[in-house]
Amino acid sequence: MSHDDNKMHAPGTFVLALIFLLWFIVIYFVQWFALWDNWPIG
């Protein structure tokens, strides 16, 4: 088995990871806005 055979080649996975990151960022900020909405200060 040549070395290349074993090499990871996964551009799709990389894009999926970016989508996941984006999704996380969106949900994360939505939570803080929801908190702000539910527990207004002042």
Binding site: D5, N6, K7, M8, H9, A10, P11, G12, T13, V15, L16, A17, F20, W23, F24, I27, Y28, Q31, W32, A34, L35, N38, W39
Partner: protein, 527 residues
């Protein structure tokens, strides 16, 4: 050494050497798991239909009793029995080795089954309504706690037996070198299990003594905060076991469905090890509004320390799809970014179950879990329906579905029975996935509107009107998910008992790396 060479059969598909006494043990643990899944499923549909205001099925007292039965039968008995089957499989067939101490293993199963039956007896006959967490002053009967203790002892013994079996595989020369990744993952699960079950003893032995009157009421009432902390040192670590087992199964399914090989084994192993380091870190997310703990303690535990486990999961989240993508691309599915995924074997329930479980676990369960562990954000949903919304994404859409997906392989390959209906198996992960997704969404959004968890009737306060639609989505989803579970249970049980037998060759199998005569064990271990 005794001669075990005639106790093996060779699996024609995988080439695995299966030790027949181990196969029986896998059978009995897997079948037990599915039986308790059925009890848990019936409870699930009943409580879900009660929480759907338009139906509001059960009377008040039965609602709390059945929530208790649902939590225990699902999260403890179904999941843990299945994991025991996984431990035995990982320490025998995967290593092509014999499983030692067969009688002890049967004894452990008996302990666990008696424990599980006692708990169900206590709930259904004696009327224990303490719910999954059993926080004092809620008090069960002695048999309830005794049942949990017996079950936990059996599982603890199985974990020790797993270590012993791996040791025997090396010592007797059945297996050499590093452990295969699946077995390694199960080893991590077993190590976490030891910690978890010891914490379980710290939690349930005192409550047992309280229930029989040895520990006075006043002591227990003074120690409720301590109970809650120990309960979650046990309860959350138990979820780390489920996590490690599920991830190990994802790797296995990647291999079984499309021949994926981990692209960087070392990194995957490090990611598993992070689960051990993070064994109990993060468990305080259950106590973020608990007045007994300081903010500093909560924040350090649930953010900085818990991230060790999160990083582990993120590594797996890349390495599993990357392995699958690499394998698929090698087969020529190279068009665009996602042909490897879109042209996957979608009619193989092992594949569809794995992918759906991966997506529900990662995109919903994982993300919501991290957010809920943030102290400030936690007040948004503490004890409301978003909490079950979150954990039905992790332990149900994630773990339970992954277990079902791998069962479609275990039944033919290990238990030697053809599935009685391939067509039903094909659609089952989609039905269950859709249903549980609706349950998750319904719970999550109802929770966002403030609907509390574990409440029989939310009409009384009259302030959750807008949530009715969400609870209806949850109710309809529950019906669909329930059908999905029934299909799985039907296929599993009928196949195991009545499915066509798959013949297999009995083949003499000896340790391929025999221990040389006259060489001491220690020396072989180091050479």
């Amino acid at each position: 050494m005794k001669d075990y060479s005639h106790q093996f059969r060779t699996c024609e598909t995988t080439g695995l050497k299966i030790h027949l006494p181990a196969q029986k043990l896998i059978w009995v643990n897997a079948v037990s798991a599915v039986v308790f899944l059925l009890v848990g499923a019936v409870m699930a549909i009943l409580i879900a239909l009660t929480r759907w205001p338009a139906v509001h099925l059960l009377p008040q007292h039965l609602f709390y009793r059945f929530i208790t039965a649902h939590g225990m039968n699902m999260l403890v008995f179904w999941i843990v029995f299945f994991e025991m089957a996984g431990l035995i499989f990982g320490a025998s067939a995967v290593l092509k080795t014999r499983f030692p101490a067969i009688k002890f293993a049967w004894f452990n199963w008996i302990l666990m089954i008696i424990g599980a039956l006692l708990v169900n007896y206590a709930i259904f006959v004696q009327g224990v309504d303490v719910m999954f967490t059993a926080y004092p002053p809620l008090k069960g009967t002695p048999l309830y706690y005794l049942g949990i203790i017996l079950f936990a002892v059996g599982a603890l013994f199985y974990s020790f037996q797993f270590f012993f079996a791996v040791g025997i595989a090396k010592k007797e020369g059945w297996h050499q070198g590093t452990l295969p990744l699946f077995t390694f993952g199960m080893l991590v699960a077993a190590i976490i299990a030891v910690f978890t079950l010891l914490e379980g003893a710290v939690t349930f032995v005192p409550t047992f003594l309280w229930s029989v009157g040895i520990i006075p009421e006043s002591w227990m009432l003074d120690s409720t905060a301590l109970y809650r902390m120990h309960f979650w040192a046990f309860g959350h670590s138990a979820q780390q076991i489920n996590l490690a087992a599920m991830v190990a199964i994802w790797y296995l399914l990647g291999t079984l469905t499309v021949g994926a090989k981990p692209v960087n084994q070392k990194l995957s192993r490090i990611a598993f090890l992070l689960y051990i380091i993070a064994i109990n870190l993060g468990s305080i997310h259950h106590l973020l509004v608990d007045p007994g703990l300081t903010s500093t303690y909560k924040i350090v535990n649930t953010t900085y320390l818990a991230f060790a486990a999160v990083i582990g999961s993120l590594i797996h989240a890349i390495s599993i799809p990357a392995a699958i993508e690499t394998a698929q691309r090698k087969k020529g599915l190279t068009n665009g970014l996602f042909e490897w995924l879109t042209k996957g074997p979608w009619s193989d329930p092992g594949w569809s179950g794995m992918i759906i479980s991966f997506v529900i676990f990662g995109f919903i369960g994982g993300v919501t879990g991290i957010l809920m562990s943030t102290e400030q954000l936690n007040v948004l949903h503490h004890n409301n329906l978003r909490v079950p919304g979150h954990f039905h994404a992790t332990v149900v859409g994630g773990t339970a579905l992954a277990f079902m997906a791998v069962a479609y392989y275990i039944i033919p390959l290990v238990l030697q029975r053809k599935l009685i209906s391939k067509t039903l198996a094909k659609i089952q992960p989609y039905i269950f996935g859709l249903g549980i997704l609706m349950v998750i969404m319904g719970m999550t959004f109802a929770g966002l509107m403030g609907v509390p968890r574990r409440h029989w009737n939310i009409e009384l306060p009259g302030i959750f009107g807008g949530a009715d639609a969400m609870l209806a989505i949850m109710g309809v989803g529950a019906i669909i998910a329930f059908i999905g579970l029934l299909i799985f249970i039907g296929i599993a049980v009928l196949s195991v008992f009545f499915g066509e037998k798959i013949p297999s060759k009995m083949e003499v199998h000896n340790p391929p790396f025999p221990v040389k005569e006259g060489v001491s064990d220690r020396k072989t271990a180091t050479t």
